[in-house]
Symmetry: C2
Subunit: 354 residues, 2 copies
DNA sequence: CGAGGCTCAGTAAGCGCTTTCTACGAACCG
DNA sequence: CGGTTCGTAGAAAGCGCTTACTGAGCCTCG
């Protein structure tokens, strides 16, 4: 049913090699022949057989992107930036949703490896688990030995691996944010960390603790609350903070999504931001300026990080094996942080019934 | 470098056919042989060559999903539902981001076709453009003739095509929502439609107009404003409505994202929802209950629609060629709609400076 | 005018797998 | 004990493409 190169060749009165050459344009073909072939191609509605080409050429035209959550804008920005670069290199981007599961991450890496993907970009933070890291390192090794480039974006590649990484300065960003809060006079700060045992969460926590320590404040005098990276996690955490009447004048959310959730539940409880409590986010996602008040947050250059990762993956940018590109973080001071207000204490009574 | 079937066969002292049989388990192999092969497989770190297998077997293990926007939760829910079904059938899901561009949609369909994907699921509404529909129909025909199943989810397949469709009752949902508003006493309603010339937008507009007409109200006495399906579009539209001091007591947003944007800008302008103006959404995305007040909206069974589409795509559910599965819409009445209030007129003065 | 160079296109050898066909023992039967 | 059947595994023919390698014309030039 489907036309093959041979069919097209027969119709154009040439050999299949010539058709292939016309298709790929990497060998000279006389203009008249080219026209005849092009014609036949069109008449037969020819569509390249990707697998056959991949087999013969020992490579394919797909670039795989692993994301934790397709519906999270953080990954949306990353994925679309990488995709743009891939398109530039005529690669088809396959986005695979790992749902944050370490096992799925490995499974998808292996599947992409099977497909002989040209490159794999693993985005976002990952589990802080040596077993997982080792298995990842194994797959990276196999991928590289089979010619599949691997790039990590948002996390460092496993140690001693040949994969390049593009990392964001979560550490420094969190420190800067904490210093801003300190400078505004805040001392009792509640930190909502991201998911536990997760590289991104840990880096942010570490940065904040360091800034605190440098300012002569015992990090353990602050509140460290495990949360998630979703809006829902922020809603819940916010509600809990009010219910418990936690003694703090500022809340640092795990990211902007969480911050928007915190603000929403604060508002529902009559807590004013930033008058009563300041709230800060992280990432500077689009939502940061949609929210009222606009979020003080840390801008991560996601777009350009994604582009960089994409360029390394497509080979448009060459790096040494195991290279690490560090992207700076930048403070974005907006309306959600002000001088310390009355705090949350005593607000519990205002919690609306539900 | 990479081990092939032949390498494994040599090591296990069998033929490559036997190794293939062990791998696929579709032919009997003596237990002892199987063990030896399995061992060799492991020792050599064998990874199947996907393209070679796809070429020989004339099919592949990938299922492609086309989405308009990877960072929109509407598509996130759809994509993850489809993916779950795909995983069930041992297929690798590739999500392709078309950015809502009709051209990219075709390009990606073609790329998936090249890859001899097992199935393609096209999600979301699409352009109402006969040229596009014709070209889509062409690709569907080619796909089907090459054994790639095509399923549309959220839009009907082009006429006379063999592709199945899963569609949501946008029409009926919009009508029900309008009737709810009418019953609450609203007469001056502003409708923010989605993007123009888009099947989803049109269906929702049509449903609303019909309900209006049935109630003896001239649809043209309402305001129909072109907008988008994003939160940003809602923010902007909300701001404009206030600035223009539009005379209406209710706003029906294109979807929940837009509704949340409208509410945010209303709040920023001091317009109370629902006291001054009621606001309704569409889709019942997670954000609908995060927002304050919680959104009155139309629930679309996205998850189960996605699962259905996924099952048709994997072949787990058989349908007649061109079958259309209709998913019902259901009203979700919450807090953002109440009896008519003072409306927007005269609010323009309250618009905060920026 | 013949040797050497160029341009263009055909031949054919794979790429690594699946699968049909065939072959070989062993077990079984009359 | 010869013939049949069954279970198991090898041989080999592709799948549709890419890409050396080869060769046929034709032009150039000493």
């Amino acid at each position: 049913m489907a036309a093959t190169l041979a069919d097209v060749a027969a119709r154009a009165g040439v050999s299949s090699a010539t058709v292939s050459r016309v298709l790929n344009g990497n060998y000279p073909v006389a203009e008249a022949t080219r026209r005849r072939v092009t014609e036949a191609l069109r008449e037969l509605n020819y569509v390249v057989n990707g697998p056959a080409r991949a087999l013969a050429a020992a490579t394919s035209e797909v670039l795989g992107v692993l994301v934790n959550d397709v519906s999270d804008p953080f990954f949306g920005v990353l994925a679309s930036g990488i995709q743009r670069e891939a398109a530039e290199a005529d690669l088809l981007t396959m986005i695979c949703h790992t749902a944050g599961s370490a096992d799925d991450e490995l499974r998808y890496m292996e599947l992409l490896l099977r497909q002989r993907a040209r490159a794999i970009v693993v985005t976002g933070g990952g589990p802080e688990d040596d077993g997982h890291r080792r298995r990842t390192a194994d797959l990276v090794r196999q991928s590289v030995s089979r010619g599949t480039r691997v790039v990590f974006c948002g996390r460092e590649a496993p140690p001693d691996s040949e994969a390049a990484s593009v990392v964001f300065d979560n550490d420094g960003g969190a420190a800067a944010l904490t210093r801003l809060l300190l400078a505004a006079g805040h001392r009792r700060i509640a930190y909502l960390t991201g998911p536990p045992h997760h590289t991104t969460s840990s880096a942010r926590v570490a940065g904040a603790r360091q800034a605190l320590t440098e300012a002569g404040i015992d990090p353990d005098s602050c509140l460290w609350i495990r949360s998630g990276f979703s809006r829902a996690a922020g809603l819940e955490a916010g509600r809990e903070l009010v219910r418990a009447g936690v003694d703090c004048t500022a809340v640092v959310a795990g990211n902007d999504l969480t911050a928007s959730g915190v603000i929403a539940s604060f508002r529902a409880c009559g807590v004013r931001v930033p008058e009563d409590v300041s709230v800060a986010g992280f990432d500077d996602l689009p939502v940061a300026v949609d929210v009222v008040p606009e979020l003080t947050t840390v801008r991560l250059p996601l777009r350009s990080g994604a582009v960089t990762a994409g360029r390394i993956a497509t080979g448009a940018r060459r790096t040494a094996p195991g290279a690490v590109v560090r992207m700076p973080a930048e403070l974005r001071s907006r309306d959600s942080v002000a001088a310390p207000g009355g705090g949350l204490t005593g607000m519990a009574g205002r919690l609306r019934a539900h």
